[in-house]
Amino acid sequence: MTEKPAIEVRGLRKRYGEGDAAVEALKGVDMTVQPGEVVGLIGPSGSGKSTLLKCLGAVIDPTAGQMALAGRTIFDEGWTIRDLRALRRDMIGFVFQAPYLIPFLDVTDNVALLPMLAGRPNAEARKTALELLTALDVQHRALAQPSQLSGGEQQRVAIARALANHPPIILADEPTAPLDSVRALDVMRILNRMAAQYRAAIIVVTHDEKIIPTFKRIYHIRDGKTYEEAGEGRPID
C-alpha cells in the first residue's frame, strides 16, 4: 500500500490587502512532500517563503487553493478544520531561526509542554521528552535551563520540541542561520535522522549555502510560485 503524502498543496494563493493596494504573495503554489522526506524551500527575500510557511503552519489564512496533511484535507477554498490551534499542536512541528525555548521552563518541560497541552499526563509527557532528548543526544542537559545551553544544544532541544507530539510535518524556518558550518550540518544531520526515524516530512526554509547541497529535493520560490528541482543530496556524514 502506498503511503499518502505528508503534505500536498495545490494552487495555494495568498493575497494581502484589497483593491489597488492588494499584494499577491502566493500565486498558485504546488508542493508535495512524502513522509520521512526533508526538502528545501529556497528563495530570495520577499519571494513568499515565510507566507507559504505561515499558510502551511495554519497561522494565516490562504486566499485560495487546497492543502492536505497526512492525507487529510485541511484547506479547500477555506479551512475544513475549526480548531487550528489543535491542528498546529497535533500535526505540525515548528523549528525557528532562533530556538525560542520558553526561558522559564527547563529543557525537559520545554519539550514535554506540547504533549501536556495535548492532554497527556505529565509523567508520560516527560518520558516522551526524555526519549527525544536522548535521541538528540542532549539528555544530559534535561534539567538545565535554556539559558545554560549552547546555541547548538538549544537548537536540538527546539527540534525535540517540534517532534514531541510526533507530527506528520515539521516546518523549519532557517534553523541553521545563526550556526557555523559544523553546527549547521549537525542540525541537518539530526533533521534527516529524525525524519527517517519518526516518518515526519520536514520543510526547511533556508538561504544557507552550507546546507543547500544536502537536500535531495528543493522547492524554489520566486514571485509567489514554486519550482521543483532535484538537489545534490550530498551525504552529511
Binding site: 517563503k49 489543535a86 499542536r89 522559564f104
Partner: protein, 397 residues
C-alpha cells in the same frame, strides 16, 4: 499540565519579589491609613467607655465637652443627683495642654475628677488611684511619665501616683488625671498679675465700689477669682433605667444639654472625626488607584517582555485561556505578596506611630479581597495585549 505562572515567577523570582515588596510597602501605607481611622474611632469609643458615664450633661446648645467648649456650674450635679434613676453624678473638667516630661513636652488632656465618681480612670497598670485632695496625678502610660515622677501643671507640681492605659482624648492625646479642684483652678483661675489687674479695675468702678455699701467690693472680687465652673457632669444610671428617660427631664427642667452614650458616639465619630475620616477615605481611594496602576503597569511590562515566548506558546497550540490564566495568576500572586508584606509592615511600624493605630483582622480580610480584585482588574490590560499577540510573529519574514 505544569503551572506556567509559577514557573515564570520562580524563574525571575527576585524581580517578582522586589516588585511585590514595593507594592507591599504601598499596601502597608494603605493599611496604616485604615488603621489610623480605626484608631481614631476606637479612641473616641474608649474615651466614652472609660469615663464610666451613661449620660453627659453639658452647657445648653453645645456639643461639649469633647467636641465643643462647655461650661456648667459645679453645683448642677446636686440637682441631677435628685432625679429619679440617677445613681451617681460627678463634675469633670477637660483641658488640653502641653506639659513638660523630662526633656520634652507632651501634649496631654488634663482631666479633673472626683475620686470614686464617674470620670475616674477605671483601671491602673501601676501605682494607685489618687487618695489626696490635691497635687496627685494618674497618667496614661503614653504620656511617658512613671510612678514617682512629678509633673508641673500651671503653678503646681503633681506627683504621679498611678499609671493607666488607653485613656486618650478624641484627638488621641493621652490623659492626665488630677483632683477636680486642682483642675478647676488650672483651667479657670487667672494668673496673679491678671487677678491684681482685675481687682484694680473693679475697685476703680464706682458702681462696684460704693462707699455706702460695705463689703460689696470684696464680694465682687471674691467671685471673680473663685472657679465655680466645670465642663460637664457625668451621670451614671441605676440599673433598669433607660438613658433617654433620665436625659429628657434634664434637658427640659435643668436647661442643660444631656447626651446619651449613643448620642455622644454620634458626636465623636460621625461629627468630630468626620472630616478626618473623609480625608483618610480619599487617601485610601488614591492609594487603591495607585496600587492598581502599579500592578497593571508591572504585569503589562512583564507581559510585553514575553511577546516572543507568548507567540511561540500560541503557535504550538497553547490555549488563550491558559495564557490569560498565567497572567492573571501572576497578577494575583503579586497582590498576595504585596498583601503579606503590607500587612507585616503595617504591624511592625504601627507602634512607632504617635497616634493609636488599630489593625483589625476584618480590615485585613477586606483588604485582601480588594487587592485581589484590583490585581485581577489590573491584569486585564496585559491579558488583552497577550491575546492580541499574533502567533505568526514567531515565524520570520
Amino acid at each position: 499540565m505544569i503551572n506556567l505562572a509559577v514557573r515564570d515567577v520562580l524563574h525571575s523570582w527576585s524581580k517578582f519579589v522586589l516588585t511585590g515588596v514595593g507594592l507591599g510597602l504601598l499596601i502597608g501605607v494603605t493599611f496604616s491609613m485604615a488603621g489610623i481611622y480605626r484608631g481614631m474611632v476606637d479612641d473616641g469609643k474608649a474615651l466614652l467607655r472609660n469615663s464610666g458615664a451613661d449620660i453627659w450633661v453639658v452647657q445648653k446648645d453645645t456639643l461639649g465637652p469633647y467636641a465643643e467648649p462647655s461650661s456648667v456650674r459645679d453645683d448642677v450635679y446636686r440637682g441631677i443627683l435628685g432625679l429619679p434613676g440617677v445613681m451617681a453624678a460627678a463634675n469633670v473638667t477637660y483641658l488640653t495642654m502641653q506639659v513638660n516630661q523630662g526633656v520634652k513636652d507632651v501634649r496631654v488632656m488634663v482631666v479633673g475628677f472626683e475620686p470614686g465618681q464617674p470620670g475616674e480612670p477605671p483601671y491602673l497598670v501601676a501605682g494607685r488611684q489618687i487618695t489626696r485632695g490635691h497635687y496627685e496625678a494618674v497618667a496614661d502610660v503614653r504620656t511617658g511619665f512613671a510612678v514617682g515622677d512629678t509633673v508641673r501643671i500651671r503653678r503646681h507640681e503633681y506627683a504621679v501616683v498611678g499609671l493607666t492605659r488607653r485613656m486618650v482624648s478624641s484627638g488621641g492625646d493621652p490623659m492626665l488625671f488630677i483632683p477636680l479642684r486642682d483642675a478647676q483652678e488650672a483651667q479657670f483661675l487667672k494668673d496673679n498679675d491678671a487677678i491684681v489687674s482685675e481687682r484694680e479695675r473693679t475697685a476703680a468702678n464706682p458702681s462696684l465700689n460704693r462707699p455706702g455699701v460695705p463689703g460689696l467690693l470684696e464680694a465682687v472680687q471674691a467671685s471673680q477669682t473663685a472657679s465655680r465652673s466645670v465642663n460637664a457632669v457625668l451621670v451614671r444610671l441605676q440599673p433598669g433605667w433607660e438613658a433617654e428617660q433620665v436625659a429628657e427631664p434634664i434637658r427640659r427642667w435643668k436647661h442643660l444639654q444631656a447626651y446619651t452614650l449613643a448620642q455622644m458616639e454620634e458626636i465623636l465619630i460621625a461629627k468630630l472625626i468626620a472630616t478626618s475620616s473623609k480625608q483618610i477615605g480619599m487617601f485610601l481611594v488614591i492609594l487603591a488607584v495607585v496600587s492598581a496602576a502599579i500592578v497593571s503597569f508591572i504585569i503589562y511590562t512583564m507581559t510585553l517582555g514575553k511577546i516572543r515566548e507568548l507567540a511561540v506558546l500560541k503557535l504550538i497550540g497553547t490555549r488563550n485561556s491558559t495564557i490569560a490564566g498565567m497572567i492573571l495568576q501572576q497578577s494575583l500572586g503579586l497582590g498576595l505578596i504585596g498583601f503579606l508584606i503590607g500587612r507585616t509592615a503595617a504591624t511592625l511600624w504601627a507602634p512607632f506611630f504617635p497616634k493609636y493605630l488599630l489593625l483589625l483582622p476584618e480590615d485585613a480580610l477586606s483588604g485582601l479581597v480588594l487587592i485581589m480584585v484590583i490585581c485581577a482588574l489590573a491584569s486585564l490590560l496585559a491579558i488583552r495585549a497577550a491575546l492580541k499577540v499574533d502567533p505568526a510573529t514567531a515565524i520570520g519574514g
